[in-house]
Symmetry: C2
Subunit: 335 residues, 2 copies
DNA sequence: CTGTTAGCGCGTTCAG
DNA sequence: CTGAACGCGCTAACAG
């Protein structure tokens, strides 16, 4: 099932088979030859050898995406968008989980480097110098997805300030004035930008943010829970909670329920990120919808273009920041 | 940064470099040569070209795992176990989502075939003949993970009958006699085997399963919700619900809450699958713990061994079926 | 329109 | 202990 085999069966040269099977349109072969070759290939079940092809062409037709945590369902929509774009481009996608800076991470990255034409990065803390060093080292095109590292590669981002502001606007429109911000991991720029957006929006409404009204929820369930506990611990609770991610919101719900708080009667909550799960929590969560799928598509496309020779540029993907209202917010009541 | 480059810098033949860098121990080279080569490699930042190596050796040092749905957090622990095993073996893992039988799935599969030495399959409905055909076609070692197709390849499974029985035993021990089974997709053998286990366990306790006490929840949130609605719709509710997966349990919670049922006061619930999420639902869920990570490891190891020449055998991974009691079950009360 | 030829980078005999 | 030479399967000139 190699080119020579097919050529032998078809009674032509292997280069003819190679061209015929690939270009198809380009060369107008004699119908007879064409038929013979196609028949032989079919009969033998011929498949090009991806490795030989990669070796010859110096390109892999495959890219990788580095994700922090496969458990994080806040990110699957992005993955799906990336998959789609890759599919359309006929490129294989390699998904790799690279959690914390474990030592074996280096090996995984090293193995990856030789197998792909470029890499998408969905994992980046400002301090992750090891990752940055690796990216420099491999000299492959790389694009950060919904993350960015200062002074580093290209990024495809949402307007996160806008997203955070959307939460504030929604809550203020309901009459809230004492709003707490359950932030994502503040060592990531995504969380930083949302913080800025939150603060600006509050200021725009003439509201201040007293001490104790922000907590870092670390982008995970447990962090969200701990942060929520802190935010509602004081004598005077905020009347509403704006949460940076759905994953953290899950933890928050646990904390609020444990404390016997009823949503939205005692406290309103809203979160960024949309996922099937949001419709099935208790209560269902009002969310800021982000088109993560589109973000994934755009990031993948940018990377693929870069691989093809067109350097990618930083890109902000417009997202409607639409509110999906599932009733977890309501006007505040006097405590 | 190829072998020749290193050889040139080190002033030796490229074959020397090749041996030295790989065997290391095998050949006892002159320390001097050794040092020169290593230094040159280091200096040039040499990396073997995975493609050339694969072409030469006829092996990719990489395997793929086919998953139905990356959104399904019930499966990430398996993935993690697989990743670990691959890491230890120095093998690259290719994760690929192959949802329904979309037409583009074929392309994705075809591209995969040339890049891996074998494939793990975590997606299998008895009726998925296209997938089966592909597996036959590629003639690569393949192992099914927590799934099996009748008469097909090798499987690495849990004792699912035992797992379902664990739910029944726990509930019966609490005093329940009227237990409903919210099953997984009954076209998958996993669900079928759990059904058998559930029924046997009930029979062993001298309990029967009246009509309307089982519903197919399709392995997803929405299916779980719909099935739960059906199960508690009748005049006389069951006193307890045994759910086949955490994902479905999420949907179930939504349904029960919407109906105003309180857990475990009005109805007890228990589910198979452990995940961080289970500790943070309302209420937290009592679960049957499965060592999915170990399952993943074993499956990956079996496949890797097969790739190395030792055909894999069907394998049942012992799992303790331990109950993690988070209080979502309680003795039944008269209605 | 089709065959010939020359590598892509590497691992492996076989000599020496 | 090290070098020389071949070929894995494929593509892209270049002939014819």
């Amino acid at each position: 099932m190699t080119l020579v085999d097919v050529a032998k069966v078809a009674g032509v040269d292997l280069s003819t088979v190679s061209r015929l099977l690939r270009d198809d349109r380009a060369a107008s072969y004699r119908p007879e030859t064409r038929a013979r070759v196609l028949a032989a290939a079919e009969q033998l079940g011929y498949r090009v050898n991806a490795q030989a092809r990669a070796l010859r062409l110096g390109r892999q037709d495959s890219i990788a995406i580095l994700v922090p945590d496969l458990d994080n369902f806040g990110f699957t929509a992005v993955l799906r968008g990336v998959q789609e774009a890759c599919e359309e481009a006929g490129v294989t996608l390699l998904i790799s989980e690279i959690g914390s800076s474990a030592p074996e991470r280096t090996d995984r990255l090293a193995a990856l480097a030789g197998r792909v034409d470029g890499v998408l990065v969905a994992h980046a803390q400002d301090t992750d110098t090891a990752l940055q060093a690796w990216l420099d080292d491999i000299r492959l095109p790389s694009v950060f997805v919904q993350r960015s590292i200062p002074g580093a590669s290209v990024s495809v981002l949402f307007d996160e300030e806008n997203n955070a502001a959307a939460m504030v606007d929604h809550l203020v429109a309901m009459g809230h004035r004492d709003i707490a911000h359950l932030s994502g991991d503040l060592s990531t720029d995504t969380a930083k930008r949302r913080k800025v957006g939150f603060d600006s929006a509050m200021a725009a409404h003439g509201l201040s943010i007293p001490r104790g009204r922000r907590a870092d929820g670390g982008w995970n369930i447990e962090g969200g829970r701990a942060a929520a506990e802190k935010l509602v611990a004081g004598r005077k609770r905020p009347t509403a909670l704006a949460v940076d991610s759905l994953v953290q919101a899950i933890g928050m719900l646990g904390a609020l329920h444990a404390k016997g708080l009823s949503i939205p009667d005692d406290i309103s909550v809203i979160t960024i990120d949309e996922h099937p799960l949001a419709a099935h929590t208790t209560p269902p969560l009002t969310t800021v919808y982000l088109d993560q799928r589109e973000l994934g598509r755009r990031a993948a496309t940018a990377l693929l273009d870069w691989v093809d020779g067109t350097p990618a540029q930083n890109l902000i993907v417009e997202s409607p920041s639409d509110i999906i209202d599932r009733g977890s917010t309501a006007p505040p009541v006097a405590q």
